[in-house]
């Protein structure tokens, strides 16, 4: 079958569509925690929605509000979000080879390129199933992620002082939960520990936001020079 355009004909309830929908349900709902944490960090409901609609890559969105919540400047938040989005370029190269989208579909596919859609497409072997998997997961997560961001932002706005409800603790838990699936081998654990220590040492010394960018530099250097069989790679990442 030729690589078909993203017209999802639900005539067949294929494994790729089922996987895409379950991944969309499993991940879309935690948009609620993003929305709540975004307003707790000081963003308006509209600013939280702009991030979910336009940025649409969970790790980068959490990084952006994480820096703002820590008192960092907008430029540092921007840097952290952009660096956490670097892996999407790697997914884009893989998906371009798999799906070969053309014209406006390429522009839409790029926006829908995230951990979940890349993982769903990569989990299929037949080209038409890769197409269905990517578009089902990408569009499914996009719709649910944005709906639940709105819900979380409105609810969070209504809660008042976020610290009283432990929302700063929720942010800690969310970042640890995003990191956790990447720590299955010894090397990423070592990298995480080194970067955690670098961050802690840098906090009293440099302006807020910069410790995170410093850790990113350490990570980039590590990835460039450390050649170990269990080095962290975007290809091994589970969907988060």
């Amino acid at each position: 079958m030729n690589p078909s355009p993203p017209t999802l004909r639900p005539a067949t309830w294929t494994p790729a569509i089922r996987m895409g929908l379950s991944i969309a349900a499993a991940t879309g709902f935690y948009g609620i925690s993003f929305g709540a944490l975004a307003v707790a960090a000081g963003l308006t409901v509209w600013q939280a929605m702009a991030l979910s609609l336009l940025m649409f890559t969970g790790g980068s969105q959490f990084a952006f509000i994480g820096v703002i919540a820590g008192g960092g400047a907008g430029s540092a938040a921007m840097g952290a979000a952009a660096l956490l989005g670097v892996r999407n370029a790697v997914y884009g190269m893989q998906l371009n080879g798999m799906l070969a989208p053309t014209g406006w579909r390429k522009a839409v596919a790029a926006q829908l390129t995230i951990d979940e859609s890349a993982a769903t497409a990569a989990g299929q072997t037949a080209p038409d199933e890769q197409q269905r998997g990517f578009w089902t997961a990408g569009l499914g997560v996009f719709v649910l992620w944005n709906l639940f961001t709105l819900l979380g932002a409105v609810l969070g706005d209504a809660l008042g002082d976020p610290r009283r409800w432990g929302l700063d603790g929720a942010a800690v838990a969310a970042f640890l939960a995003l990191l956790w699936p990447r720590l299955k081998q010894r090397e990423p654990v070592a990298l995480a520990v080194v970067c955690g220590v670098v961050t802690a040492l840098a906090v009293p010394l440099v302006p807020p936001g910069l410790p995170i960018l410093l850790a990113a530099v350490v990570g980039a250097a590590w990835g460039w020079w450390v050649r170990s069989p269990d080095a962290p790679s975007v290809r091994e990442e589970a969907a988060t």
Binding site: A80, G85, V90, I212, A220, G223, P232
Partner: protein
């Protein structure tokens, strides 16, 4: 830079990063170093964000209720609980410690 400016610029940067992947020559994928750097940056940033959100208060390091959130979240993740439950338990731990203290 206002918050809105930072949001718009950050969204543009992440979209262009995604688009650049689709525009890059396929042979770049043959270089596993690219994938390693991207993977290592992801681990580094998530670790830094976890540490900063647990211990930083402006430019000071403090131990407060957020440490309880970190411990409870780690336990929940070790027990393989789902993401949302981990986040809720983290919030509950921090909220409870503040309420008791």
């Amino acid at each position: 830079m206002t918050l809105w400016t930072a949001i718009v610029l950050a969204c543009a940067a992440t979209y262009l990063t995604k688009l650049a992947g689709y525009a890059a020559p396929a042979r770049w994928l043959q270089n596993p170093r690219m994938a390693r750097v991207a993977g290592a940056i992801t681990v580094a940033l998530l670790s830094a964000l976890t540490v900063m959100n647990t211990f930083a208060a402006g430019t000071a390091l403090v131990l407060d209720a957020r440490l309880a959130a970190l411990g409870v979240a780690a336990l929940a993740l070790w027990l393989r609980l789902p993401f949302l439950l981990v986040v809720v338990l983290g919030a509950a731990a921090a909220g409870l410690v503040r309420w008791l203290g």
